[in-house]
Amino acid sequence: MSGVQQFLSHFFITGPFEIGGDVSIGLVSIAILFILTRYKLWGWLWREWLTSVDHKKIGIMYLLAALLMLFRGGVDALMIRTQLAIPGNSFLQAEHYDQIFTTHGTIMILFMAMPFIFAMMNIVVPLQIGARDVAFPYLNAISFWLFFFGAMLLNISFVIGGSPDAGWVNYPPLAELRFSPGPGDNFYLLSIMISGIGSVATGINFLVTILKMRAPGMTLMRMPMFSWAILATCIDIIFAFPALTIALGLEFMDRMFGAHFFTVSGGGNPMMYVNLFWMWGHPEVYIVILPAFGIFSEIVPTFARKKLFGYTAMVTSLLLIAIISYFVWLHHFFTMGAGADVNTFFAIASMFVAIPTGVKVFNWLFTMYRGRIRTTIPMLWFLAFVPNFAIGGATGVMLAAAPADYQYHNSYFLVAHFHQVLIGGVVYGMLAGMYYWWPKMFGILLEEKWAKWGYWFFNIGFYVCFMPQYPLGLMGMTRRMYTYPAGMGWTTLNQISTVGAFIMGLGFIFIVWGIVTSILHPVKDTTGDPWDARTLEWSLPSPAPHYNFARIPQIEGRDAWWAMKQKGLTKLDDSTPIVPIHMPKSSGKPFIMGVLFFVAGFGFVFNWFILAALGMVGVVILLFSRSFEYDTDYYVPVDEVKHTEALYGRS
């Protein structure tokens, strides 16, 4: 009996925060179940969403997940900042604090930034290149559900088993069994490995989509810049993620089966992990920033009413960034002292990344030069991005000067740098994209009043929160300290920083509130082109019909839709006859696959190998059954296409 009790008390974490977490998870789940049942929505949910292979719906589900994770990671951040507001604070104990910053970092990079970029590329790329879906729609659904259940696995660790607490980089030996016993760290490994399979699949999927499925006439050099950015991103994903998979896989074997890849005592070497991790980790920061660059490259020409400046240089710089980013990983651990020659090489390579990045910034500025700038919400986010990213890039170059990095490494100076590029770059970019394409996703326009309040609060909060962290680093404050004594001169700056974090929190609430009011009082986008934009997706009605294009358009130049509008067209050429449209069928298997991976992952986390085996066997059975399934696609009849088009007032 006491054995059971002991098991339960380790299985269900009991503490004030966890019980709060349990209660809120319980309440939200009950509310969702109630609404679904009360309004008979189960069938709808299953048919329209859980089994959908439509890239637009998958994109929307990614977006929703990203916003939820932004909230969860944001709450973690506020707890961190609250703890640091006062020296010697006892709001959080070290154990808790360590878990919170670990999940904060892991969630923000892998379960917020990644799904956010996947959301944008899913929603936009096929529409922008004139395709009816991605190259492998079924695989796309699998990617989503693996991401989703990976994220769930990490999130439940808060209430079941305990959260990981070795930092988001999870270095051995700290992350090995000897120093991190218990299931916490397994949650980290399993959740990232599961969602990582999905990420690689997405990279392949979109690479093929972009290379093979462009509308006739859309040569690569006529392709919209966002699609170019995604192409570069996919190259990075495909070549970077395997390094992470291997690093985590080997660490998993160390922990699970007593291997010694990274445990020092058995002749292993933890530096191997550190190298592998950052061989993924550095390209990863470009995996999340390149799509943001792509988004800005769409927004700026649209709202400056001017052609993108230096298209060729923009493409060149994208590819240069994608390639150079493979040759800089060691700058994350200059202080491991690999030798002066090695450090010099990586220092200079890192600085070189700044050159194409700077070129992009100047090209955006000169796109606006002699244009006519409309300060809409997406454009405002771009204008806030520029100074932010300039400073973040600048401090990046300072960090890349290896001997100077010996003084910044692991200090709050570093923390300020990467938040400046990740928030000011990635988050601003994704929010800009969300505002920009929202009408295309849902067919409604977003209101501006709350959006502006959100914008200003988030922006000002950002500077108040993170600017003090640069001087804190120079005062010797290191990251991941759960507390610090008074009298170091750190107190006031930390307090300012905490205030800034809460201002950002308010900003987030305003942003969400703006979206909610827009949904409650919808203003329909009847034109399909509310911004008077330039690329192909705006030629379609909003939201786009499930087959996207009734007829695949013929492309004659860059900014295809703008060119058509210049010729006086108000919709795509509809003189050719409609033919039946070939589309993939929905399938429940990707969702079930996600569930099975979750079961297997959960089994591995607690070393319940029978459960893990059951889950994996299920996965294999599912793979086989899919291989022998031949009825996977269908044709949308001409009448149905005509009927749908007529509903949008088109023919």
Binding site: A94, D98, G358, R372, Q407, I460
Partner: protein
């Protein structure tokens, strides 16, 4: 348009408030340890920090001013008669300028970075007999051994001024990082490896040292004071430790290795070969790695 005004106005006030608050934080300049070097290594690194800071500041300021100018001049508003050229999208000469300027900056900074990187692997001053201190990071304490003096200290360092010191670093716990900002940048401590870090204090004083790489729950408490004193005082301190302090026994070392916090301690001696045993134990008994540079 009226409604938009309020958040922006609020924004200005907040920004102003933040700026003045920063000025009034009351943190004295001395507390910026990285900017207050007390030895040649930290000074040399500070030079690079300043050089890189100035170079990038020029670019950042230029970008922000250009942004403000362009947005101010080309906003879409009635009667804006600034030029409008919607199709203009290429300019070879402009593009050459903004490829060239960053390249020049990076080359300049790169050259200085390279020179400094190499010079910092050597002792800060030519010396015939450098002093050696062996450093072990434990969970969650710092153990220092002085092989020349045959003494050891816990969570406390005393060093002579004007003397290059070769720190040899390892860990008998997760990886940490040995950092005394006023004396110079950090270097990782890793199990099974020995790393080298040259530091030197030129001014007497007490400097903060700390672990900079996260090692678990006690990590935040891994701080130590470094007392830099004239050579004569140092020698005196050494002989006093040798004569009046207890020895570090193997048994006591084993308790130090167990996770936990500890105060400051001094030891008149330590078990023979302790440092190398720690390095070799975690190295599976192979030839030790490391000592290949560091800075």
């Amino acid at each position: 348009m009226k409604r938009l005004k309020s958040p922006r106005k609020l924004g200005r006030w907040l920004l102003l408030g933040a700026a003045s608050a920063l000025l009034l934080t009351g943190c004295s300049p001395q507390q910026f340890s990285v900017l207050n070097p007390a030895g040649p290594v930290a000074s040399s690194e500070l030079q690079l920090i300043i050089l890189s800071g100035v170079l990038v500041l020029v670019v950042v300021a230029f970008v922000i001013v250009l942004l403000a100018f362009i947005v101010g001049r080309y906003r879409e508003k009635p009667n804006n008669n600034a030029p409008y050229t919607p199709e203009w999208s290429e300019s070879r000469s402009l593009e050459i300028i903004w490829w060239a300027i960053p390249i020049v900056i990076v080359v300049v900074l790169g050259i200085f970075t390279g020179i400094k990187t190499f010079s910092l692997t050597r002792p800060p001053e030519a010396t015939s007999n450098p002093m050696i201190v062996q450093v072990q990071s434990l969970d969650w304490k710092w153990l220092f051994q002085y092989p020349g003096q045959k003494i050891a200290t816990l969570n406390y360092l005393e060093i002579p001024t004007g003397q290059p010191i070769e720190f040899v670093l390892t860990s008998n716990a997760p990886m940490n990082s040995f950092w005394i900002p006023q004396l110079g940048g950090m270097e990782m401590t890793m199990p099974g490896m020995q790393m080298r870090l040259w530091l030197q204090a030129d001014k007497t004083g007490v400097y903060e040292g700390r672990g900079a790489n996260f090692t678990g729950t006690g990590f935040a408490h891994m701080t130590f004071n470094v007392k830099a004193v004239p050579m004569a005082t140092f020698t005196q301190w050494v002989s006093q430790v040798q004569s009046s302090k207890p020895a570090l026994t193997n048994a006591e070392y084993q308790t130090l290795v167990k996770p936990g916090l500890a105060g400051v301690k001094e030891y008149s001696s330590y078990p023979a070969n302790l440092f190398m045993k720690v390095v070799m134990k975690d190295n599976g008994g192979q030839k030790p790695m490391g000592l290949n540079g560091g800075m």
